[in-house]
């Protein structure tokens, strides 16, 4: 044996030793690993944390989060087996959603676990101080009779910005992919407004925050439940009432109406039922309402508390609620 083979062997032996030294931190015995989708809004994190605690502490599972900013990519990831459970998906108004449900739900590669229990409401909002003023901040009511779309043109100058003048500015739905249909409403209702699409929710909140802290007029597309409502007092403007003629599943928005309720849903791997029936039971029965979730989201986003701490507090106070979700 010559020198280099010896060294090679010694090297191998050292590597093996090192590996055995570090590989010690193995996985504890558990019934399996469940992969949750982690989206980038807090509501999704809270739902996930509640179910995670149930699975890890009451059913002896391990939970891993797969981060993916929302979007139809989650469908693809579920089919591929990268995600087992995804919480609180907002349906949006995009016709693509029907295509996805047809494509993935239809062939049974993704299972629809049911509604979250939340009721989503979209609309055009203005700050309350525009209507009633705010004495504590020294803001006067600038549009006391503004309550529906019919008065918007009267006040368009209030909403105008350098970029939109002489028209008023409407901060439209920031995500084009949702196809919320602001443009169609502005056009068909004959509003002298320019819908501005900012591209991300972040930009939208930043504009909202900036305008609100300075007490400026603002017309913005927003939705509930959302943490901003806990910080800012916003009033939803009335739009023509929603009927079934307003929206077409294929073509999207046809008439300028108010938005219908959105029912966010949970979905995930179609094979979960066979692989881990007890997990399947929990995620199918999980349900949370606007009020409960908003309270927790407020604690996390506004008071900057830890998600786990907030969730545990809620669980301690609502044991009878989550006990019922666990399998018998």
């Amino acid at each position: 044996m010559n020198c280099s083979t010896l060294i090679r062997r010694l090297g191998l032996a050292t590597a093996a030793l090192a590996l055995s030294l570090f590989a010690g931190s193995g996985v504890a015995d558990s019934k399996g690993l469940i992969k949750f989708h982690e989206a980038d809004w807090t509501g999704n994190l809270i739902n996930g944390k509640i179910v995670e605690i149930l699975l890890t502490e009451h059913l002896d599972y391990e939970v891993e989060y797969v981060f993916l900013p929302a979007g139809p990519a989650a469908w693809e990831a579920i089919v591929a087996g990268d995600i087992d459970v995804a919480f609180e998906f907002w349906p949006t108004y995009s016709p693509e959603r029907h295509q996805y449900i047809a494509e993935y739900g239809g062939d049974g590669s993704v299972e629809y676990f049911g509604e979250t229990g939340l009721v989503g409401k979209s609309g055009w909002y203005v700050p309350r101080y525009m209507l009633e003023g705010d004495e504590s901040r020294g803001i006067e009511a600038t549009a006391p009779d503004l309550e529906s779309w019919e008065q918007l043109n009267k006040y368009k100058d209030l909403f105008a910005t350098p970029e939109t003048a002489p028209k008023g500015r409407l901060l439209a739905c920031p995500i084009p992919a949702w196809q919320a249909g602001d443009e169609l409403r502005v056009e068909k209702l004959g509003l002298d407004f320019h819908p501005v699409v900012l591209g991300t929710e972040v930009a939208q909140f930043a504009e909202l925050e900036a305008a609100y802290t300075r007490g400026e007029p603002l017309l913005v597309y927003m939705w509930e439940p959302h943490w901003t409502h806990a910080l800012y007092d916003l009033v939803k403007l009335r739009l023509p009432e929603y009927t079934d003629e307003c929206f077409d599943a294929e073509a999207g928005w046809v008439q300028p109406c108010d938005w219908p309720d959105e029912l966010p849903y949970n979905f995930g791997s179609a094979t979960l039922k066979d692989r881990h029936p007890d997990v399947h039971t929990v995620v199918r029965s999980f349900s949370i309402d606007n009020e409960q979730q908003t309270a927790m989201v407020y604690e996390v986003d506004v008071n900057e508390r830890d998600v786990e701490e907030v969730v545990r507090e809620w669980m301690a106070a609502n044991e009878d609620v989550w006990r019922a979700w666990l399998p018998m």
Binding site: M1, N2, C3, L6, I7, A18, L21, F22, A23, G24, S25, D40, W41, V66, F67, L68, P69, A70, G71, P72, A73, E76, A77, A80, D82, I83, S94, E96, P162, E163, I175, P176, A177, V196, V197, L198, G199, T200, E201, V202, A203, Q204, F205, A206, E207, E209, A210, T213, R214, D301
Partner: protein, 697 residues
């Protein structure tokens, strides 16, 4: 063609063009504003891309998913290994590496950088990022060197690979995140795949370059001694190309770190996730912490990589290890250095002693197995690597102590310091400050009303064929027929995929950003060139601006200027202005002393020397700066949609959120083509100035 007649000819063309423009505005008859539908109807590029993707998915997904599974295992192992190591060991390990190759100063810096991750409570994400980058870089380097070697052996191969590399580098990364999801799933494996695609080009380029630069004589000599092609390559060309290859590795690491935040969009964890999470919640302090972690990692690897690539050539021996050399005459400094020297000598003695013991033990064991020769060889090998051996012993000892004797535990909480609250508080105060608000509002209105809006209106108003004609003319005059034809092809593609008006808006944003860059960058560059004092202030700021991931300053821009197109322009300016300042400064400083001397001897004043001599001579360099600013501005269009930017970048984002690869590619290619046209034209300007000045043959 002589210069004067060419000049006249250009002016004629320009005037003719302007007249045509005037006629056009009067006669609406010719205004074929819309791109012919017949063309765009037949050219369903997005559908073709998607069809190819579907086919690939159907037939080759098993392969990519397999790779993905393998990657996942490797990543898990790397992550577990790094997180399993006590923080003391990681810090010491990196510090020893830095000490070995870069000396005491680099070692101290690396300790600060590594401890910073712990101090801001980002140890875990930092280790995740380290693992991800490590594996991505490893794969990139392996593939890169192999492809680079292949390219260096065949001109045909290189001419095929080169345009592919160009596209890989200019194509907005968000575009290939979509197919990465389809083929590699989500999470860390597709992030590795995307990072490899982005970080591969410099490894290929610099390997190819390094091998091609080995002199013909050396290769001939090797051949003459009877080496085969493979032998020449392995024994002569590759070793000689090593510095260049190491440079490629260094750049690959840098590019990989540039992907950290973007990879979050397909589910990669680590520091990028922290930055993105902070951005989502508009928390500047948090984003800054994550961003600084990335900056420290980047600087650390950059310096370390540089030190390693220089190590072969031997460092210039410096008498002072820690303090600057110019303090040599201070007794205190000498005392400190002396003390350090003693510690050094002590450590070296200890290390030698230990090595001796290990070496003789190894020799004795080896003699039993491999006989005398092997034993002596081993002994020599061990003695030669005293530093490595001592470091390993030290590190393993620490791991053993941590595991079996007393645990170092997690990073001590008492050392943690969060800069989130103070930073956020300061920014919030600034936000409601009346004076500052008036200032930001003024800038916002000024940029929009005077620069962006007029430009956007003009570009939207010009008919597509007219604009194409103007661009082709400019390209022809400045860069020749080929570039003109390429420009026409690029613009026709943009029209045919139905992205004309969106692209014009993007172009307006880019031009507005570059214009503002020039307004800000040129004066600063000139000032820095005039005064060393200004330069010493400007330089570190530029360094920080260039290493900070742009995502970090998106948040303050968003807070101060709101979410709108102007914010996008401002963020672009911040990103694109550093190279312009640098090259302006460099260009002026490089003007030869003789020229300046000559000018002053003819009695020119300071201003005259500046405007008549320095600036004209520095113009090629300044033009290169403008060219760089343009390229940087184009790259930024994909990131600004996050704070309200519109145009092609937003199209890419929308495509990503509905995972439509075809649409993403269309918009991505449109961005690439805009970059190509702008790059070729501005480069040609710079080159022509250089030729005119006789600076380049």
């Amino acid at each position: 063609m002589p210069a004067t007649s060419k000049e006249r000819y250009q002016w004629g063309a320009l005037i003719a063009a302007l007249t045509l423009l005037l006629v056009l505005s009067k006669l609406e008859v010719l205004a074929l504003h819309a791109f012919p539908e017949a063309l765009s109807k037949g050219f369903t590029f997005a559908e073709w891309v998607n069809a190819v993707e579907d086919w690939l998915r159907e037939h080759y997904r098993w392969l990519t998913r397999g790779i993905s599974e393998g990657l996942a295992v490797a990543l898990k192992a790397a992550e577990r290994f790094l997180l399993g190591l006590p923080w003391v060991v990681v810090t010491l390990g990196i510090a020893l590496l830095a000490l070995r190759f870069g000396g005491l100063r680099l070692a101290l810096f690396s300790v600060v950088a590594v401890l910073f991750w712990g101090v801001v409570d980002m140890w875990k994400p930092a280790m995740e990022t380290l693992g991800l980058i490590g594996i991505s870089v490893f794969i990139s380097v392996v593939i890169g060197v192999l492809v680079g070697v292949a390219c260096s052996q065949s001109n045909l191969m290189w001419s095929i690979v080169r345009p592919v590399l160009d596209t890989m580098q200019t194509m907005p990364t968000f575009v290939y995140l979509i197919p990465a999801i389809f083929f590699f799933g989500i999470g860390d494996p597709p992030a590795v795949a995307a990072t490899v695609i982005y970080a591969l080009p410099p490894a290929v380029r610099l390997t190819n370059l390094g091998i091609r630069q080995v002199s013909v004589e050396t290769v001939e000599a090797a051949r003459a001694f009877g080496s085969t092609t493979v032998q020449t390559l392995l024994k002569v060309q590759l070793p000689l190309a090593m510095p260049s290859i190491m440079m490629g590795v260094n750049q690959t690491v840098m590019m990989g770190l540039g992907m950290v935040v973007i990879a979050t969009f397909i589910g990669a964890g680590g520091l990028g996730y922290e930055v993105w999470g902070a951005l989502r919640r508009i928390k500047v302090g948090w984003a800054l912490e994550g961003g600084l972690c990335i900056v420290f990692m980047a600087i650390l690897f950059d310096r370390l990589g540089y030190a390693i690539s220089q190590a072969r050539e031997g460092r210039a021996a410096s008498r002072f290890r820690l303090l600057p050399e110019r303090w040599e005459h201070q007794p205190l400094a000498r005392g400190v250095e002396h003390a350090i020297g003693v510690v050094y000598a002590l450590c070296a003695a200890l290390s030698r002693g230990l090595t001796l013991v290990v070496a003789s033990a190894a020799e004795r064991v080896a003699r039993l197995v491999a006989g005398d020769d092997g034993a002596r060889g081993l002994r020599e090998l061990v003695t030669r690597h005293a530093f490595l051996l001592t470091s390993l012993v030290l590190l393993v000892a620490l791991v053993v102590i941590d595991r079996y004797l007393l645990s170092f535990g997690a990073f001590p909480e008492a050392w943690e310091y969060s800069m989130r609250k103070p930073v956020d508080r300061a920014l919030n105060e600034l936000k409601v400050n009346e004076g500052f608000y008036a200032f930001t509002t003024f800038i916002r209105a000024a940029v929009f009303l005077w620069i962006l809006d007029p430009l956007a209106d003009l570009l939207a108003w010009l008919p597509w064929w007219y604009f194409t004609g103007i661009v082709a003319l400019v390209a022809w005059i400045s860069a020749g027929r080929t570039v003109a034809l390429v420009s026409i092809a690029c613009l026709l593609f943009i029209g045919a995929v139905d992205l004309w008006s969106v692209s014009m808006f993007t172009l307006a944003t880019i031009l507005a950003s570059v214009l503002i860059c020039m307004l800000i960058g040129l004066p600063i560059g000139i000032l820095a060139a005039c005064s060393d004092w200004v330069e010493s202030i400007v330089r570190p700021i530029l360094d920080a601006m260039q290493t900070l991931p742009p995502f970090v300053y998106l948040v303050p821009v968003l807070m101060f200027f709101g979410g709108n197109v102007v914010s996008a322009v401002i963020a672009t300016v911040i990103y694109a202005v550093p190279p312009l300042i640098r090259l302006t400064n460099l260009g002026i400083r490089e003007v030869s002393a003789q020229s300046i001397e000559a000018a002053s001897s003819f009695g020119s004043t300071f201003m005259q020397t500046m405007t008549k001599v320095k600036l004209p001579l520095a113009l090629p360099s300044i033009m290169m700066g403008v060219n760089q600013a343009v390229i940087f501005a184009v790259a930024m269009t994909v990131i600004t949609p996050l704070i309200g930017g519109a145009g092609l970048g937003q199209e890419v984002f929308t495509a990503l959120s509905v995972i439509d690869t075809g649409k993403g590619f269309e918009a991505g290619l449109a961005i690439v083509f805009i970059a190509v046209v702008l790059d070729r034209i501005t480069q040609a300007w710079s080159r022509r100035r250089q030729q005119a000045l006789g600076l380049e043959s």
